[in-house]
Amino acid sequence: MKKRTFLGLGGAALAAMLAIGGAQAQDAIKIGLILPMTGPFASTGKQISAAVNLYLQEKGATVAGRKIEVILKDDTGVADVTKRLAQELIVNDKVTAIAGFGLTPLALATAPLATQGKTPMVVMSAATGIIPDTSPYIVRTSQVVAQIVVPFAEWAAKNNIKNVMTLVSNYGPGIDVEKFFSEAFFAAGGKAENMRVPLQNPDFSPFLQRVADAKPEALLVFVPSGVGAQFMKQFVERGLDKSGIRLIATGDLTDDDILNGMGDVALGVVTAHHYSAAHDSPENKAFVAAFRKANNGLRPNFMAVSGYDGMHALVEGLKKTNGQGGEALVNAMKGLSWTSPRGPISIDPETRDIVQNVYIRKVERVGGELYNVEFATIPNVKNPARGK
């Protein structure tokens, strides 16, 4: 008798637990986060996922009484895998939205699934212009290549730089940088000479020799992250920094994640970008401090801030729709505007792309560490490539 009571009680408790568990699982708003957590682009995944976790910790993880649950998947930076994971998340896990996407091909491979599944898709890193056009469910919170380089070209032309040589790696984003910068620079009255280098390029010496021969006033560089430091070292090794050629680049070259390891060769490099960990605002100071505390001193970079803002867009959107996904969520995210750690930003209601300030910065030593210190601001830049 005793035994039976015990069993009965146990059974009831078990049933109750299952019921609670079931209710929670049903009620949670699931968001699938697909990032390269291993492989050559692991630093992107690490930064974004850390920022997403930070956002949920700070701002609370419930909307309309329902818990927000992030399911993190590792796509290793391979488009096939991204697509398969997105499909599993949409079909099996029934996620309300998918987010992440470290590289352009990964976002492009997933876009048709977002359309078919009517699942909002927040792009937190990939930067090619066409991405939001490939599905009406895409919202982007990172950056667009043209958004950075077009105002940069206009700024350079205004600041007495009349001829520029561009040196880009021969792949999608590099060609975008070359094209948009040269067009805008030409329109502003400058002259640009173009040079492309192979993507797998161990030694820059022959290309740098050409630069030394051409003696442009400035050299615009776009090479994949990591190789950039290699490039700057060889630039300095050849004495080009002292020859009066100014080194300019998009902020990818002086990424906050690796800037400090580059050493003095990076000093004085002028870049344009949408985020610097040294951005002077109370929001950013709080963000950087909290991010470092939660991640063993790691400095947040532009990837982290995109992940943080992507979460903000999703959570604010979900608040408006009371936790509903689909087209309602995309519409709710359109036109959102807020003060991010990077400064004031908004989601363009027409293009679903981000509108943000572009800052011109210079690498300086601040308190013993290298930082991109902002000294000029071009406010509220939309993607200038649209409608062309």
Partner: protein, 287 residues
């Protein structure tokens, strides 16, 4: 003058390629073992130097012998444990085995050190460049040329003029007879393998400044090593040496004069050379 600067750049690049590939040419040519994991030893050397410099504060110049010794030791251990059983296996088995090792090394380094590019700080006296009769020469590049030139000379002398060299060549030509004559074949092979690994490690350190260092290093540069060894032939040290010089200079000059096709020059040159000399530039005549 500009051309001489380019020439120096090309030679320095070729020298690094040579040191990286010479170990491969030793194991492949002398021991007849296909070791695609050679680049993994180079990467290990590079990472050893990075860790020694950043964590132990060792000056750059001491990381060179340290990386050589460490990778040579690693090579000796792995030779005893992993490679010796596959000496007698077919070439296909050796390829599969060593490419597997490469993937393990890439994943292992990624896990331990992260996937980002690694940096080292050169001492002041190796930075910048100076003028020799109007030709601007990078200090570090000159340092690489001198060091690797001495190494190439030493290796050639060691293999052709010393007792060790002649014993090794005897052991390669006919291991059974050599063993019968009292030559310690196993020990010789182990030593040679360790030497090749050590050279790769040394090349890895020298290459950090010129080629970069991240976990995909062994895969990225495997092609270059193989090009050097196939074009140069594997039976001598001078063959790969001249091949590395030729490829280094052609690569740098090609990228300078015709940057649009720069990346392909090295491959085009390989195709042409192999069409003309299928056994490599300096192969022994087939008998």
């Amino acid at each position: 003058m500009k051309l001489l600067t380019l020439l120096v750049d090309g030679i320095a690049y070729g020298m690094v390629l040579f040191v990286l590939a010479s170990g491969l040419s030793v194991t492949l040519g002398l021991m007849n073992v296909i070791n695609l994991a050679h680049g993994a030893f180079a990467m290990a050397g590079g990472y050893a130097a990075v860790v020694l410099m950043q964590k132990a504060g060792l000056p750059f110049i001491w990381t060179l012998p340290a990386a050589f010794v460490l990778t040579a030791l690693a090579g000796a251990v792995l030779e005893r444990l992993l490679y010796r059983p596959i000496y007698a296996k077919s070439h296909l088995d050796q390829v599969m085995f060593s490419i597997g090792l490469v993937f393990m090394a890439v994943a292992g380094i990624d896990y331990l050190m992260g996937s980002t590019q690694q940096f080292i700080q050169l001492p002041g006296w190796l930075q910048g460049r100076f003028d020799i009769a109007g030709v601007a020469v990078g200090r570090y590049r000159l340092f690489v040329i001198v060091l690797c030139g001495l190494l190439a000379f030493g290796l050639q002398w060691g293999f052709t003029r010393t007792r060790f060299g002649s014993r090794l060549r005897a052991a390669v030509d006919d291991a059974r007879v050599a063993r019968g004559l009292g030559i310690p074949v196993h020990a010789l092979f182990a030593f040679t393998f360790a030497l090749g690994s050590g050279l790769a490690g040394l090349g890895g350190v020298l290459g950090v400044e010129l080629l970069g260092l991240d976990p995909s290093f062994p895969l990225k540069f495997m092609i270059y090593f193989l090009v050097v060894v196939t074009v140069g032939g594997t039976s001598t040290i001078t063959g790969p040496f001249l091949a590395a010089m030729l490829l280094g200079i052609a690569d740098v000059a090609g990228k300078y004069f015709i940057p649009q096709v720069g990346a392909f020059i090295i491959y085009a040159l390989m195709v042409v050379l192999l069409l003309l000399r299928p056994d490599g530039l300096f192969a022994r005549q087939r008998t």
